[in-house]
Symmetry: D2
């Protein structure tokens, strides 16, 4: 009479969120990503996960940015790309995403998403970095070859044209550091990092930019697909951790917190 191990039923439900502003404003970006970067990212995930995932997209300009409570409740993993319009993302939607991550929704933050409200809220730091938008070559090295996200990935990945993201990257020390990048100029960057927050798993992967065709790079797509698969929770249910009171002798039946004062305290 033991507990049955959880097996995920059905494919992963993945939502690729894209800000979709550069594509509207800059012809060069629109030409590079004719259906939007979110579609390109989506296709990359589908290419590698195939029938293991059902991938849809959502964008900033949709009502509630396409991320209603109902939508998030049926999302296993959310990927996030934003840049020009971080400030336009509604705080209420950010709070909603935060709660879902803490409850177990996976989150994959891409490139300039380092400065998104949701990533900063989860990290607690400025998430600032060193930056140059020139034609650097980025080389992505695996430093944790045992990690699921590194499986099938060349060592190194060579990205012929990329902007530079460099250290110091103001993030909490990652739970797992998987990739480190170098750039033509000699800079380095912790480009693939994981963290757990609450019941949720977070993967940040820096390669990718509107100004370069990085999201067509097969290895970049592969890493993102691996990251999506890894970030999906192994837990059978989604729940935000809560503070509960427990009687001595009963480890399992917590009851609600009544507030900071004891019953009878003369408030």
């Amino acid at each position: 009479m033991s507990i049955v191990m959880k097996e995920r039923q059905g494919p992963l439900r993945v939502v690729v969120w894209g800000e979709n502003r550069h594509e509207q404003v800059e012809p060069a970006v629109a030409k590079r990503y004719p259906t939007g970067m979110h579609q390109t990212i989506r296709e990359g995930i589908e290419e590698f996960l195939g029938e293991k995932a059902i991938v849809t997209t959502a964008t900033l300009d949709e009502p509630e940015h396409g991320l209603t409570e109902e939508r998030l409740a049926e999302t296993d993993v959310l990927t996030w790309w934003g840049h020009a319009a971080h400030a336009e993302v509604d705080d209420a939607v950010v709070e909603r995403i935060h709660q879902h991550v803490l409850a177990g929704m996976g989150l994959v933050v891409l490139h300039s998403g380092h400065w998104s409200k949701i990533f900063m809220k989860l990290m607690g730091t400025t998430c600032t970095l060193r930056w140059r938008s020139k034609h650097d070559r980025e080389v992505v090295w695996t430093v944790d070859p045992t990690h699921p996200i590194a499986q099938g990935i060349p060592h190194p990945i060579v990205i012929e044209e990329q902007e530079m993201y460099g250290e110091f990257f103001d993030i909490p020390a990652p739970d797992e550091l998987i990739f480190i990048s170098s750039f033509t100029g000699g800079e380095v960057f912790r480009s693939g990092c994981t963290w757990r927050r609450g019941n949720g798993k977070i993967f940040y992967f820096s390669p990718g930019d509107q100004a370069y065709p990085v999201y067509y790079h097969p290895d970049v797509r592969h890493v993102i697909a691996n990251g999506v698969e890894w970030a999906a929770s192994d837990r059978p249910t989604r729940e935000v951790p809560v503070l509960l009171r427990y009687t001595e002798g009963d480890f399992f039946t917590g009851y609600d917190y009544d507030g900071p004062f004891e019953p009878g305290d003369p408030l």
Copy 2:
């Protein structure tokens, strides 16, 4: 011609922040801590750091909670105890403290401070836990004997009377786990943890409650004093990390970020 190593000039400037509400409302607490818990905590730090520190206090009911920009700018380490009135702490003051921590101010969060706005903001999680307010014995074990905060501390510390804080404690995996506690009821708790955020160092230590005389316990006072000393920054200046642009070939002279679009982009 090399850079001179920094030596701190003068004693550490420590501010012990106390909510000071239980002491006003509950006669038993007022009797236990007649000058307020913050004064008892202050005396504990002074006992162990002596001339190495100048310790003052600040409380919730002071203007700006006693934590003006000027005050924080001359504070090396802030300790935080709150419980009944977390919600009354002004968001603007929390934001100010957050910036100072990211810039290098040390922060020591005590006991029920786990649910303070500043701690939750730095952690990015719910900071919830398992709880029981009965007469448990807490035993605090050292699991990192090399850590400065563990120096001079008995293994274990025995606290005869304490409330129970138990796992799951919803925090990011600590950078360093120094102490683990057990309780009479069989619960365990990661009771001494450190994290870095930005240029700041954070130490959380759970023993201590308004309902028990824990802040008179010599070993608890010693840990807090060690924690204060450890949390003080080794950096010569305080600065919040910023995002800067760097020309290739010049590693040292960053210039300001101009926004997400390139000059000439048709906005």
Copy 3:
């Protein structure tokens, strides 16, 4: 034209290694584990992994302790229980196991295996601990609810009768700390820990003793089964990392190290 993600073909090949000495010498142990502890552990893994694994056993008294090069080469995960006869394990076999772990074989070390030659060699520390062989209750708490090994495991596991293993446990800080135990006497122990070494993954789980029927406990069996599944490498091939020389411009074709002196050095 992208790299195909690896999918394991066929079930996991698991070898449960048991010292099998207490069972021969102590009637009480023989009665408790009539077919040997290794058989009980094997049955526990089979109970939870079913057709996902083919589980066999090996013991100290077999030639080469049942762990020939051929056997290890076809083992995905090795579990290790030893106690009375650590010193009798042949150094050559230990070296062989070490190489296989570094190459990617999973290793699950159980209970008194903390003092086995292979665990000490992988950890680099004394692996000593605090100990008492009395009738303690052990309570095992999950501190990383996102970890695959914690899935399906009650929080906490209650083991009514166990010997005590306590801190300080002299191990490297774990890559992941999953479980912390408390004991009747008030001691605590980091009872579920992971580390990566080379291409291999290692899980240590402390509950389990010859003097108590711990390996019949459904939750203990479940954790061990989860640990076996987690420790199996995701990598398609097994290889020990080697030092190679690389020409500039060629990231992928390393060639052998020629020794510490340059060609032409006047040796």
Copy 4:
């Protein structure tokens, strides 16, 4: 009546160990480091620590490699540079150093010391890496600006001429990752890492080679000096962790382990 905090009495006693073989065999090295690399390293430490340290040297060709039990017993921190003759280091001396590190002696491993017997024994891995001996520029970036070892160090350090050490570096995930280097060829390396083992602290720093004047670089010298100061134990006494038995109710008086069988067991 509280425990007095430990203050180190007198200066740090540092032993700089050098293999001193290249200097004897290769005229170019002898010219570059006329008194031996160990002397240059020593002078670098003295330059930065001044009266805070008494620095001496020891070399391979001295009896017991200059590292007798008596010498180690009065050494607070040992630095290690070896390359051509790792295999000539006596296993008994390695075992002796290992015990001292576990007891609390600090260890700073430099450059090609990554393949020394003592480092491999402490790490448990192959400690292999990617390598090229050409004229690369190494740029060393700080990724943990709060760390004592990073204080006073430029971000980045630029080393105009160095050989290349690249990933994958087969080490356990560091407790703290302080520096990451890039090289002209685009490779990266975790060049400044710490670990705790037993009561000892270990710092590995990779810049430095017999073929280049790296140990005259002021920033490299500064990092090594900082590393020496950091690696010194804060503990008042040196002791190897041991396995002890404890009676319930007495946390402090352990007694010796009697062997794996209980008294009365029919051996």
